[in-house]
């Protein structure tokens, strides 16, 4: 006779098999093969039969000069871009998301309209929103320049998306516009789950709108905000489509993913690109672990 707990464990293992297979084939296999590729001299000519070359794709000292991903200033530039983009876009998204969620909470006849309107940017494919903003910001015919010129703020049209001074800001704003709804939905769910009596107790204790938010609502929705930050943060660190669509070649906004893709598929440096991809994975992994540790997100259940 097997005990009930043994049987339960066995059942649990059986149920875990399918997802394990899927994860192994879809995540682990590509990861390992990329790792392997990064240790070879794979290019288009020898892709099927590359030579093992060790870590020279990462770093190599050849006749007194440093080579490899880690020695490429463009790579570090892309790391810096990615981090700047992530920090500012996620911050902006959290602020906007909380604001939208609070607006969505207002009970009136327009609430369905408001809730739908908040979601629209999230529903639009990135290719569409990127092109949309590109046209609006276009230097000769864009409505944005037209308005600014009309108001006398600038004298002639500015190419916002290609100008080194503004392109990063533009990217951050487009991303915030596009993904704030995601944060809004998470925070809205958190707000909806707030116990009404606790808010009423606050009113009796003398809270007004601001103190209620600061002392009661915000601390209670913090877990929802932390979850939103983790999701959005990891997304932002992997950003590709928006930057690729707006300006694929500009080093001012080039992200780690765009850098890796360019090495692999434009220059056909598969080994080198794979090394860049591996570094990208490592960097994101380290940042994620630090963030989750710091916010104690993995201990959320015990907090409260």
């Amino acid at each position: 006779m097997k005990s009930v707990s043994q049987l339960r464990k066995r059942t649990a293992l059986i149920f875990l098999i399918p997802v394990t297979i899927v994860l192994l084939s879809s995540a682990l296999y590509p990861l390992i093969s990329t790792l392997y590729l990064s240790l070879t001299d794979a290019e288009l000519e020898n892709f099927l039969d590359p030579n093992y070359v060790g870590f020279i794709n990462y770093l190599e000292n050849y006749e007194g000069m440093w080579y490899g991903v880690l020695a490429d200033s463009l790579f570090w530039n892309s790391v810096r871009n990615t981090i700047v983009f992530s920090v500012f876009s996620v911050s902006l998204e959290v602020i906007l998301g909380i604001s939208f969620a609070l607006i969505m909470l207002i009970e009136n006849k327009l609430k369905w309209f408001v809730r739908a309107a908040v979601l629209i940017p999230w529903a639009i494919p990135t290719i569409v929103s990127a092109r949309m903003f590109e046209w609006m910001l276009q230097d000769q015919f864009g409505i944005f320049n037209y308005i600014l010129i009309g108001m006398g703020i600038i004298e002639q049209g500015k190419a916002w998306t290609t100008d080194p001074q503004t392109s990063m800001i533009v990217i951050i704003i487009i991303d915030a516009w596009k993904t704030s709804p995601f944060v809004a939905i998470l925070v809205y769910a958190g707000l909806k789950a707030l116990p009404n009596e606790v808010l009423e107790a606050g009113k009796v204790d003398g809270t007004n709108g601001i103190t209620q938010f600061y002392y009661i609502i915000f601390p209670l929705i913090l877990p929802a905000i932390a979850v939103a930050i983790v999701f959005r943060g990891l997304d932002a660190l992997r950003v590709f489509d928006l930057i690729y669509l707006i300006n694929a070649g500009s080093k001012d906004i080039m992200s780690m993913t765009v850098y890796a893709r360019r090495e692999m598929f434009e220059y056909s440096h598969f080994g080198f690109g794979a090394a860049a991809s591996t570094m990208l994975t490592l960097i994101i992994g380290v940042i994620a672990v630090i963030f989750i540790q710091r916010t104690r997100l993995h201990k959320l259940d015990e907090m409260e």
């Binding site: 116990p195 009596e197 606790v198 009423e200 107790a201 606050g202 009113k203 009796v204 204790d205 003398g206 809270t207 103190t211 002392y215 009661i216 601390p219 209670l220 409260e304």
Partner: protein
């Protein structure tokens, strides 16, 4: 301190009229219990006094000042909620200090008041814990402590004991009574539990579908219910109601029949009644005389016997009229026995066909 005057107040939730022209005067320092079945509007009344619910018409004043348009914090009230409604992210100390902190009191004053409240409620050892680490009874104390620290004119309690187990409920009930004596504050207490109402109240207000059915001291309500609703609501087990007919009327008494088996002359009158009218005779189980001499009597088989130790309840039935009678704890009566039940005339109530009591 603080009188509360409620003057022809009405409240609608959409089309539903939940409070209908209610007027109430609540004396300063009294313990008033609003009681009634679910949906009678008692919690809504309390929330209107607190300022958590708007009033559609009428006025509510506290200490002579109309508070209709004042937010809760300006009404000088504190409220204890059914779910305790503690701030889950704050320690016990911070929960109790929160109101004072918002009033920008000094640190010393906050410390002093919180510690004082903690001492009264015996929760000094838990001040640094979070609500989640406390038992239901401890949370309840914190919720009361949060109300005490602010020294309000009026305490409002919304079914504060209903989430506690039976033993703790009795204990907290006694403590609340003590607290009322110590604090000398006006307390308004909502409950559906008539035992809580009877034991705690100076005044009980029985609400029935948004109308004040009767207001009075616990014993007034017990002895002289205004109507069948109050008669049935106060007392446990419920008052027995038996359909009956007026046989004759004299100048100070009304003679009615009991199931055609006997008749009884009750010294209560109603001007609008006349001979032959259908009436309802009400009598409490504890007032029936089992197998003894009394004014009128009734015989029935016993269907169920409930032995509670101190008393025994007999469930009787005759021609579809159920009746519960109380007798001594160590009764020998068994299921299937036939008993004679006596109706002492002085304990009988009469209600007309609309449920109003004869006076």
């Amino acid at each position: 301190m603080a009188d509360i005057n409620i003057n022809t107040v009405n409240k609608y939730f959409g089309d539903v009229h939940v409070i209908k022209d209610v007027s109430l005067d609540i004396k300063s320092q009294s313990f008033t219990v609003l009681v009634g079945p679910s949906g009678c509007g008692k919690s809504t009344m309390l929330r209107m006094i607190a300022g958590l619910e708007d009033i559609n018409s009428g006025t509510i004043s506290i200490d002579g000042q109309v508070v209709n348009d004042l937010p809760p914090k300006q009404r000088n009230i504190a409220m204890v909620f059914q779910s305790y409604a503690l701030y889950p992210h704050m320690t016990v100390f911070d929960n109790m200090a929160f109101g004072l902190k918002l009033e920008k009191r000094s640190k010393d004053e906050i410390n002093e008041r919180v510690n004082e409240a903690a001492r009264i409620l015996q929760i000094e050892d838990y001040l640094q814990r979070k609500p989640k680490q406390l038992s239901g009874g401890q949370r309840q104390r914190v919720a009361i402590g949060r109300a005490i620290t602010r020294k309000p004119k009026v305490f409002l309690f919304d079914e504060p004991l209903s989430n506690l187990d039976a033993a703790l409920r009795v204990q907290m009930r006694v403590e609340l009574a003590k607290l009322h004596n110590e604090l000398e504050a006006t307390m308004i207490y909502v409950t559906h539990d008539q035992t809580e109402a009877m034991t705690l109240a100076d005044d009980i207000v029985v609400l029935d579908t948004g109308i004040v059915s009767q207001k009075g001291s616990p014993l007034e309500l017990y002895d002289k219910p205004n109507n069948m609703f109050v008669g049935g609501f106060i007392g446990s087990p419920k008052m027995n109601f038996i359909s009956s007919k007026i046989l004759s009327k004299s100048s100070d008494a009304t003679e009615v029949d009991i199931m055609g088996m006997s008749k009884i002359s009750v010294s209560k009158m109603s001007a609008s009644s006349s001979e032959g009218d259908s009436v309802t005779l009400g009598i409490r189980p504890e007032h029936l005389v089992v197998n003894g001499d009394s004014d009128g009597s009734w015989e029935s088989k016993v269907f169920v016997v409930e032995k509670l130790g101190d008393v025994t309840y007999l469930y009787l039935e005759k021609d579809g009229e159920p009746l519960v009678a109380e007798t001594e704890g160590h009764s020998e009566i068994k299921v299937g026995d036939t008993v004679k039940v006596g109706f002492p005339a002085g304990r009988c109530q009469l209600f007309d066909s609309s449920g109003q009591a004869f006076k």
